[in-house]
C-alpha cells in the first residue's frame, strides 16, 4: 500500500516536472516577439483590427506596415505568414521591410498574416520552435509556427469544414487554415474573421496587386510556381517567363475555380485586386524527410529526399547540381524577385497602377545571404524598431 502510494506520488511529481518544463517552452513560443527595423521609407504601422475591431486584443491581430512614397500611383500588398510553418515568406517580408525604397505608389506588408499560427509548432511533426539568421552584428531569432490557427485561439474543429460561401466540404482541420477560409466571414470562426479582415483591407484600400507568399514541398507539383487569379494571369505569365529566362525557373498556373478558400481565387473574385500566390521549394515540409532539424529547415538538405530527387520524383530541382539543397537565402530571394517581377509587369500592363519600389533581389540574397540585409535593432533608430 505504501509502495503504491510512493509510486503514485512519483508519477505525479514526474508529470508535474515534465509539464512545467514543456509549459515554459510553450509559453515562450506563444509570447516570443520578432523584431524588425523598418527602412527609412516606412510611413506608419496599422493593425488588422483597424479593419475588423473584433480582432483587437486577440492573438489573431497582426501588424500591417505601410511604405507610402507620397507620389500618386498604384498599391501592392505583400503577405507572409499565411502558413507560418513555411518560414521563408515571413523572413522575406522582414528583409523587404528592412530595405525597401518606394518611389511611386504605396506598398503594404503583412509579415505574419495568421499571427495565431505563429504561436505554436506543428503537432505530431516535431518542428523546432525557432531558427536564427547570422548577421555581422550577431544572430537574429525568428519563430517557426504551425500551418493552422493555434487551437488555444480557435477550438474545437468540426468533423468537417464547410467553406463559406461556396459550401464546399474540406478537411476538418482546414477550418483553422487561413488559406482555405477566404473571403472570410465577420461572424465566423477566428480564422474566417482574419480572412474577412484581410479581404476587407484589400477592398477598402483598393489594393491593385496582392501577393501571398508560400513554400511547398518539392514532391508537390505546384512548387516554384505563380498561381494567379484569371485577371492576374497575364502579368504572372510574363513574370514567370522573364524570371525563367533571366534568373531562376518559375512556373505559372491559373487559379482553379473548383478549389475554394484560397487567396489566389477569392481575393480576385471578391475584390478588384490582382491576386497572385507564389510557392518556393521547402524540403523541410516534405513528407519523407529525415530528422526534423533547424539545419534541414535552413539548408533544405536531406538524405532521404535526395533518393527521391535522384529518382526524378521531385517537382523542383534536387540533385548534385544544387547540392541537394534549397537554402533559406535562395527561397527568400526567389520571393523577393518574384514579387518585383509581377509588380514590373503590372506596371507594363496597367500603367495607371504603377508602383515603383525596390528591395534586395534574388541575386543579392544568393551572394550575401539573408543576414546581410537585417539591421541591428540595438543600434538602430528606436522609431523604426518594432517587435510583435
Amino acid at each position: 500500500m505504501k509502495k503504491e502510494l510512493v509510486l503514485k506520488l512519483l508519477i505525479v511529481f514526474v508529470t508535474f516536472a515534465l509539464a512545467t518544463v514543456a509549459g515554459v517552452a510553450f509559453h515562450e513560443h506563444r509570447h516570443f516577439k520578432e523584431t524588425v527595423v523598418v527602412s527609412e521609407d516606412f510611413t506608419e504601422m496599422r493593425w488588422l483590427s483597424d479593419y475588423c475591431p473584433q480582432l483587437k486584443d486577440t492573438f489573431a491581430d497582426t501588424p500591417i506596415f505601410v511604405f507610402d512614397s507620397g507620389v500618386e500611383g498604384g498599391s501592392v500588398l505583400y503577405c507572409g505568414g499565411t502558413h507560418p510553418y513555411e518560414p521563408a515568406p515571413a523572413l522575406s517580408a522582414f528583409v523587404l521591410m528592412e530595405n525597401i525604397k518606394v518611389e511611386k505608389g504605396v506598398v503594404y506588408v503583412i509579415p505574419q498574416c495568421n499571427y495565431s499560427a505563429t504561436t505554436m509548432g506543428v503537432q505530431g511533426n516535431a518542428y523546432p520552435s525557432y531558427y536564427t539568421v547570422k548577421t555581422e552584428w550577431g544572430e537574429k531569432q525568428y519563430k517557426i509556427g504551425e500551418r493552422n490557427t493555434n487551437p488555444l485561439d480557435q477550438w474545437p474543429d468540426n468533423f468537417t469544414y464547410i467553406h463559406y460561401p461556396s459550401k464546399q466540404a474540406q478537411a476538418y482541420n482546414d477550418l483553422r487554415n487561413l488559406n482555405r477560409c477566404y473571403p472570410g466571414r465577420l461572424d465566423g470562426t477566428l480564422t474566417e474573421r482574419v480572412a474577412w479582415a484581410i479581404t476587407e483591407f484589400i477592398d477598402k484600400e483598393e489594393i491593385d496587386l496582392s501577393i501571398d507568399c508560400h513554400e511547398a514541398s518539392i514532391m508537390y507539383p505546384v512548387v516554384s510556381t505563380y498561381i494567379a487569379h484569371d485577371r492576374a494571369m497575364d502579368i504572372a505569365m510574363m513574370a514567370a517567363m522573364d524570371l525563367t529566362a533571366t534568373s531562376f525557373d518559375m512556373k505559372i498556373e491559373q487559379s482553379p475555380k473548383s478549389l475554394r478558400g484560397f487567396t489566389h481565387r477569392e481575393w480576385g473574385d471578391y475584390t478588384d485586386t490582382l491576386g497572385v500566390l507564389m510557392e518556393t521549394a521547402e524540403p523541410f515540409i516534405d513528407r519523407i524527410v529525415g530528422p526534423m532539424t533547424v539545419d534541414l529547415m535552413m539548408t533544405g538538405q536531406d538524405r532521404f529526399l535526395s533518393y527521391a530527387g535522384d529518382k526524378g520524383l521531385t517537382y523542383a530541382k534536387y540533385d548534385k547540381e544544387n547540392n541537394y539543397s534549397w537554402p533559406m537565402n535562395v527561397r527568400v530571394g526567389r520571393h523577393l524577385s518574384g514579387a518585383s517581377k509581377v509588380i514590373y509587369y503590372m506596371n507594363q500592363f496597367f500603367p495607371e497602377k504603377e508602383v515603383i519600389a525596390s528591395w534586395p533581389s534574388y541575386e543579392e540574397l544568393v551572394e550575401h545571404d539573408c543576414g546581410a540585409f537585417l539591421h541591428n535593432p540595438e543600434t538602430s533608430n528606436p522609431d523604426r524598431v518594432f517587435s510583435f
Binding site: F26, Q123, N125, A126, P156, P165, L259, R287, G290, F304
Partner: protein, 439 residues
Amino acid sequence: MDYTVLEVVIIFVAMAATFVLGSKYLKSTEISMALAGVVAIIFSTLHGWTTTPVKLLVEGLFTNMDLAMTFICATIFINIYSSSGAMTTITRNIVERINNKWLILICMGILMLIPGAITGAGSVSVFVLGTLVYSIVRFMGVSEKKATAFVFMFAIFSAACPPINLWTMLMTAQANMPYVGFELLLLLPIIIAGAFTILYCGWGSKRAPKEEILATLPEVNAKMYGFGGLVRVLLPLLTLVVLFVLTLVIPFSMPVLGLPLMFIICTVVAILCNPNKTSVKEYAKVISDTMEQVFPLVATVLSVGIMQNAMAASGVKGLIGTAFVLLPFVWIYALILIVGPFAQGSMSYGSAVVIGTPLIFMFNTAGMNVTVVCAALSLIFPIGDCLPPSRIVGRLVLEATDYKDTYTSFLKQIFVPCLVFGLLALIMLIKPAWFTFLA
C-alpha cells in the same frame, strides 16, 4: 545532412524492440508505445537533432487530444443512454418486428454506416451502435467471433463511406485537389464488400425463435413502450443525427460544437429521457465506470501522439515513407495492402499524409486518374484500424462486444472480409482508368 540512413534504421529498430519488450514485460501496449517514443526522442537528443526533448514529448501527448475527448464523451453518452434501457428496447422491437435474418443483417449494416459516414470516424459507429448491432446479430444465430467481425467491418466501412472520408479529405487537402467526385468511387466498393461481409458472417447461421430471444433480454421500464417510449428511445439518437445534419446543411448558422460537445448535449437529452429514477450518485458511477472503461483507449491515442512526434523528430517517419514511395510501381501494388494498413496502425490518420500524398503525386506523374487513386488509398488505410500498435477501432469493437478470445483470433476472423475489401481497392489502384466513370 547530419544523419545517415543507418542511424535512423538503428533508431527504428530500437523503437520496435522497446515496443515488443515493453508489451511483453510491462503488459501494456500504451506504456510500450510511449517508451518507444521516449527512446527515439533520447536518440534524437543525443544526436543533437533536437534541443527540446521534454517539449516534444508533451507536445506529442496533445497531438490526439481531440480524439481522446471524443472517445470519452461518446462513451459517457452511450453508457448513460444504455442505462435507461433504450438499447434493450430497440433490440426487442427489431427482434419482434423483423423476421427475415438477411433483412435484419442488411439493416444493421446500413445502420452502422450512418454515424461513421457523417462524422468520418468508425469509432463513433462503434460507440453509438456497436453493442446494439452486435447483440442483434448474435440473435440471428451468428457466432460470437463472426458477429464481432461484422461490427468491425461495418465500422471501417462507415469511416470510409462518403460524405466524410477523412483520409480522402486529408490527401486532397495536401494535394490541393477538390474533395469532389468521390461519392460513388468510395460507395461502390463498400456496397460490394459490405454484401460480402453480410454473407460471410450470416452464412450458415440459424436465427433462434423469437420468444427465446425475447426471453433472454432484460425487462425494461414500462415507460419505454408506446409513443412515449418511442420518443424516449429515439430522441437522444435523433439529437445526434440532427446536430450532424445541421452542421452540414446550415454550417454558417450553426456554432462550431465539435464532436465532444455534441455527445455531451446528447447525454443531457438521454438523462432527460430516462424513465428510471436514477440518482446523481448513480450517474456519477456510470461516468466513473466509463472513465475506467475508456482509459486504455485514451492512453493509446495519447501514446500514439508521442510516437508520431518521436518518429518525426528521429527521421523514422521519413525512413518508412521513403522506403515505400521509392519502390517501383509493381512493388507498391504488391505491398500496399500490408504497408498501408500498418501505416494506419502506427500513424493513425498520419498514414494519409506520409504515405498517401506522395503516392498521389507519383501516380499523377504516371498519368493516372488521381481521384480514383486517392479513393482507392482511402479504402485501404481504414483496414489498419485493427493493427498494432494502436489498434484503435479493433480494441473499441472488442470492448463493445465484450470479446473473450485473443486479439489474434479476432484478426483471423476479419482477415477474409478485409482481404476482399483490400483487393477491391487494389484493383482500383492498379486500373484507375476502369473506374473513371464513377468519378
